[in-house]
């Protein structure tokens, strides 16, 4: 699969940090007033391996992942992507960064796919969105679900859908794949197959950042950032 991967400098620079988060604070408005989801979070994510943001529910790991994915804007603090401060970027520049560099996989498998397209069309759509050539058959072979290009997404199991979601991420040839609780909706066997795909992505040189409290995911991580109540508890 090496030929599918990008030669983006962000990936080949090796140890240079992919994300630098400096004293970031995120607040969510609620009827009772703003509630902090992240407070004074400072962390660096390198451009290789599997990084897991771990912690119990409500610890802020998904929020941190959305900040890294340029989905949410921090209330305070600074975020650098490949050394570039993204705090002052407008909507358009952030969208372009997401389009060209970042792939996102969310918790609920169907939400990573377009329901009215076939499996192959989903891979093609993902590639087109990043303006890169598409080879659905190669990706499906790599995912271990060959000959399903013409299937409707609904015909796949939850685990297969989540693997296809990572396939779509791969098809976009991103600089990094961000995944939010990718195995929480799956049984153990399906989750293991998904994690195998994650391992192979990492092995092929794609950095992956996963927010999860799944011990199986944490066990496979190259580094773990533990959060509790919106603060970094440990980075190892």
């Amino acid at each position: 699969m090496a030929e599918l991967l990008t030669d983006d400098p962000l990936v080949t620079e090796g140890p240079a940090p992919l994300f630098e988060v400096d004293r970031v604070r995120v607040e969510y408005p609620t009827p009772a007033g703003p509630v902090p989801a992240l407070e004074e979070v400072t962390v660096t994510v390198p451009a290789d391996g599997l990084t897991v943001l771990a912690g119990p529910s409500g610890s802020g790991k998904s929020t941190l992942l959305r900040v890294l994915g340029l989905i949410d804007r921090p209330t305070a603090g600074r975020v650098r992507v490949s050394g570039r401060d993204v705090g002052g970027l407008g909507h358009r520049q952030r969208r372009l960064l997401r389009r060209d560099r970042i792939a996102l996989v969310v918790q609920y498998p169907p939400e990573n796919l377009i329901g009215h397209l076939t499996v192959g069309q989903n891979l093609r759509a993902a590639a087109e969105s990043a303006r890169v050539p598409a080879d659905p058959d190669a990706v499906l072979g790599w995912l271990g679900i060959p000959d399903t290009a013409d299937w409707r997404v609904e015909a796949l199991s939850g685990g297969q859908q989540q693997r296809l979601a990572f396939g779509c991420a791969l098809a976009r040839r991103p600089a990094v794949v961000l995944a939010d609780e990718p195995t929480s909706q799956l049984d153990a066997a399906s989750a293991a197959l998904v994690l195998d795909v994650v391992d192979r992505l990492v092995a092929d040189g794609v950095p992956v950042v996963v927010a999860s409290h799944d011990d199986e995911v944490i066990a496979r991580a190259h580094r773990v950032v533990r959060l509790r109540e919106g603060r970094i508890e440990e980075a190892a």
Binding site: P29, G69, I71, R73, H91, R92, R95, L96, R98, R99, D100, L104, Y108, P110, E111, N112, L113, I114, G115, H116, L117, Q121, R124, A125, A126, E128, S129, A130, R172
Partner: protein, 846 residues
């Protein structure tokens, strides 16, 4: 274009409900836009048709008349008209020549009054009593009887042929062929000189010219009519007739031997202008209502788009996370919804066009109107696409990109007092309507152009009431979590369900209230105008029909028993200021057109037979002096009662009893009034052998165009109300359908936990019924109040009593309520069925 955008049109098929709702929204939207154009044009054409119907068919095209020509000159006029008619697209004209009325001496030596004449085709339009050969004189029965004229007789003058036929007198009402020549051909049976005006027909023009060229000098009357093969059905057709006529008449005059020989008339030119004005008036009046309805429709499209955004939220978020901006996502929405919107737009235009006879006052359209309506429909469709794109852009920006502050600003819009703004606008509209009510101007056939802002008053009031209702319900639902009505679980469930979907609930309430209010205003004001016109016509004629009859009937013979039981005799005497009626108190109240209680009127009239000291007891009408007065030929009268208006009298005059007047022979005119249509009255009179004149029926006595113009305006308001009602019903169904899954799960779990099915049904009935009931109550109240306020202001002739007033709307409101309950029952059945057929396991698994 990327795959999700390329495949968007096909993606629409994944949600049939969204497709259906989009189709219906676009259908209603384009129907409103196209129907406004078609309806106002049809109104102009209906005005043209109405006015053409009030004219003699042969007077619609240009006419030529003159009374001071020689027979030879008259023939030249007819020849010139015959030459010019085909050049200007008219069929062969019907020419006629008439002698003066004189006492011509017949072979019998008698000399009854009559006129001689000739008219093209006249012998085909008479009823022959004796003879029938077309080579001699045709004599009317009156002349034959008065002059003892028999077949073979003649007038002792050179060139006069012998009598070859005796025909039945022409009497009112005459048919289409004779109505334009009524003055020359119809016998006045009540005239003291017997057959005055009776027409003795020559067999052909040449014989008439030969007989009269010398003896009549220049006292011959010529008449030329151009009977159209088909009367104009549209204002454009009428304008074409008038324009061709205007071009033809000078050409005919140019062919005549001397100038100013004839008088020409192009009587349909003014009705054409009036028709155009009527169309413009209706368009101007319905425009504000149409714009508001279009805005409501576009809001409906926006609601459909928001639903679509919610249903496609995952996909939109995925595309946005992959770099697509709100504008690209807006294009995605447009690409998916364009096909159903287009289908709806085409259907809406087709229905507006094909259903024209059902909602418009005329089924006929001017040239190009269909194209204009199609362009309007296209514009409305484009606006719907624009709204779809814009709403998606705003929605996705707000959902994915906007900061908290901007979201608060957006949410803050709902707290703005929109009802205050519409209330102020309603007040300003009322002030405009009050300052410039719909009134006939002197010498004008139509009311002055109604103020469009003023005519928006009823709808603005209804809109304000709807917004106030929405505000109150929104506050109530926000506070509803404090309610503890578990002793009445159905009510508690209903309130919680409403509060959980407060947005949908207030949306349905808004559209429902608007629908009911608009329907009530439309039906109310249209009915008020109808009633006012009917009443004014009734008071103007006095009864359903009337006819003048001989004074001898009142003074000597009396009415035959059959007629006496079904009619009443009324004597009419006019003084300088007042109209004095002599009525029969025993029969009048049963026969006359009475706007109110007949028994009460009969009781009042009975007082006229009671003796009064030194004077006749009289009923004073309107502003007539309330004192003893001396009436010409009646003597002193003493008012014993008063009524604000009275049939035929109007607003000022006196009513006395026929039994009390000194001499019935002093009364100017005696009329017979009947509750039957005029045709039946005349048939009865003819059967009884009573001569009659000036017969008229209530339906054609007054020119109803000013009333019809206002009525057509509010007929369209009714159509808009109907459209809004369909929107409200669809919104109710949709609101339940989009929550089908949650309702089914919640209901199924609740019933498994012990909730009785009856309670579940009751909760849905309460939930939906409260929305429908509130809509009907608020809308009907607002509509009735607007109708009561606006009806008198929209009466084009308030000086003719009675002024238009709000009609009884109980039937309409009852029907509306029954329909609303039927819709509620249907939607409730759908909601409960989704619960009873739910598979809880699948619902939980998702």
């Amino acid at each position: 274009m990327q795959l999700p955008w390329r495949s968007a049109p096909r993606a629409a098929l994944s949600s049939p409900l969204t497709v259906l709702v989009a189709v219906v929204a676009a259908l209603l939207l384009t129907f409103v836009g196209a129907a406004a154009v078609l309806h106002s044009d049809a109104a102009g054409n209906a005005a043209a048709g109405y006015q053409a119907g009030r004219l003699c068919p042969q007077s619609v095209a240009p006419v030529i008349d003159h009374r001071r020509v020689t027979a030879g000159e008259g023939a030249a006029v007819i020849d010139a008209a015959a030459a010019q008619a085909p050049r200007h697209g008219f069929p062969a004209p019907i020419g006629a020549l008439y002698s003066p009325v004189r006492q011509w001496t017949w072979d019998s030596g008698l000399h009854p009054w009559s006129r001689f004449g000739w008219r093209e085709g006249a012998m085909d339009n008479l009823t022959v009593l004796q003879g029938g050969s077309r080579d001699g004189l045709w004599v009317p029965r009156t002349v034959a009887e008065d002059g003892d004229v028999r077949l073979g007789d003649t007038v002792a003058l050179p060139g006069f042929p012998r009598v070859t036929a005796i025909y039945e007198d022409l009497a009112d009402p005459v048919g289409d062929y004779w109505c334009a020549e009524r003055e020359e051909a119809v016998v006045n049976p009540l005239a003291p000189d017997g057959g005055a005006g009776a027409l003795v027909l020559f067999p052909d023009r040449d014989s008439f010219v030969a007989a009269f060229d010398d003896i009549a000098g220049d006292s011959v009357t010529v008449s030329v009519r151009f009977p159209l093969e088909r009367l104009p059905r549209t204002a454009d057709e009428g304008a074409d007739v008038a324009a061709r006529g205007a071009a033809m008449l000078p050409a005919i005059e140019a062919m005549l031997p001397r100038p100013n020989m004839v008088i020409t008339g192009n009587y349909f030119a003014t009705p054409v202008e009036v028709s155009r004005e009527a169309g413009d008036t209706v368009l101007g009046a319905v425009l504000p209502l149409t714009v508001v309805s279009l805005l409501v429709g576009l809001a409906g499209v926006a609601a459909v788009t928001v639903q679509w955004c919610q249903r496609r939220r995952a996909e939109l978020r995925l595309l946005w996370a992959r770099g697509a901006g709100p504008r690209a996502l807006g294009a995605r929405a447009v690409l998916e919804l364009a096909a159903p919107l287009l289908a709806g737009a085409v259907l809406g235009w087709l229905i507006a066009r094909l259903a024209l006879p059902w909602y418009a006052p005329s089924p006929y359209l001017s040239d190009g109107t269909a194209v204009v309506s199609a362009l309007v429909a296209t514009g409305v469709f484009a606006a719907a696409l624009l709204v779809t794109g814009a709403v998606t852009v705003a929605h996705t920006h707000r959902a994915f990109q906007a900061t908290g502050g901007r979201r608060r600003l957006w949410r803050g819009l709902r707290y703005l007092p929109w009802e205050l703004a519409t209330g102020v606008a309603a007040y300003l509209a009322w002030a405009r309507l009050d300052a410039t009510p719909v009134r006939m101007a002197f010498g004008q056939p139509l009311p002055e152009q109604p103020d469009a802002v003023g005519l928006a008053f009823p709808l603005l009031v209804v809109l304000t009431v709807a917004l106030v209702a929405v505000r109150l319900v929104r506050w109530g639902l926000r506070a509803a979590h404090r309610l503890r009505w578990w002793r009445v679980p159905a009510a508690q469930l209903a309130v919680r369900r409403l509060a959980a979907a407060a947005g949908s609930a207030v949306g349905i309430l808004l559209v429902g209230t608007l629908a009911v209010g608009t329907l009530t205003v439309g039906v109310g004001i249209a009915t008020a105008q109808d009633d006012a016109f009917d009443t004014k016509s009734g008071l103007f004629v006095g009864a359903e029909s009337s006819a003048q009859i001989s004074t001898r009937v009142a003074t000597e013979t009396g009415l035959p028993p059959l007629l006496a039981a079904q009619t009443t005799l009324v004597g009419v005497l006019k003084s300088q200021d007042d109209v004095i009626l002599a009525v029969d108190p025993a029969t009048f109240a049963d026969i006359a057109w009475v706007d109110g209680d007949r028994a009460e009127l009969a009781a009042r009239l009975a007082r006229l037979d009671a003796p009064a000291a030194g004077a006749l007891p009289t009923l004073r009408v309107g502003s007539a002096p309330d004192q003893r007065v001396r009436l010409p030929r009646i003597g002193d009268v003493e008012p014993v009662d008063h009524l604000p208006a009275f049939p035929l009298v109007g607003n000022r005059g006196y009513v006395v009893s026929t039994a009390a007047i000194p001499d019935p022979g002093d009364i100017d005119v005696w009329q017979i009034w009947s509750p039957k249509p005029v045709d039946l009255l005349l048939a009865d009179l003819d059967a009884a052998g009573l001569h009659h004149l000036h017969a008229r029926g209530k339906s054609e006595a007054l020119d109803g165009l000013p009333f019809l113009t206002v009525r057509w305006t509010f007929d369209f308001v009714t159509a808009l109300g109907f459209v809004l009602a369909v929107v409200a019903a669809a919104a109710l169904l949709l609101a339940v359908e989009v929550r089908r899954r949650q309702n089914a799960l919640a209901g199924a779990l609740a019933t498994r936990m012990g909730l009785r099915p009856r309670t579940l049904v009751a909760s849905h009935l309460l939930e939906l019924g409260s929305l429908a009931g509130l809509s009907v109550a608020a809308g009907a109240a607002a509509g009735w109040a607007c109708t009561a306020v606006a009806s008198p202001m929209l009466d084009p002739s308030p000086w003719l009593r009675p002024v238009a007033a709000a009609p009884d709307l109980v039937g309409l409101v009852s029907t509306t309520l029954a329909t609303a309950l039927a819709v509620v029952a249907l939607v409730c059945w759908s909601a409960v069925r989704s619960v009873t057929t739910a598979r809880v396991g699948e619902l939980i698994r998702g």
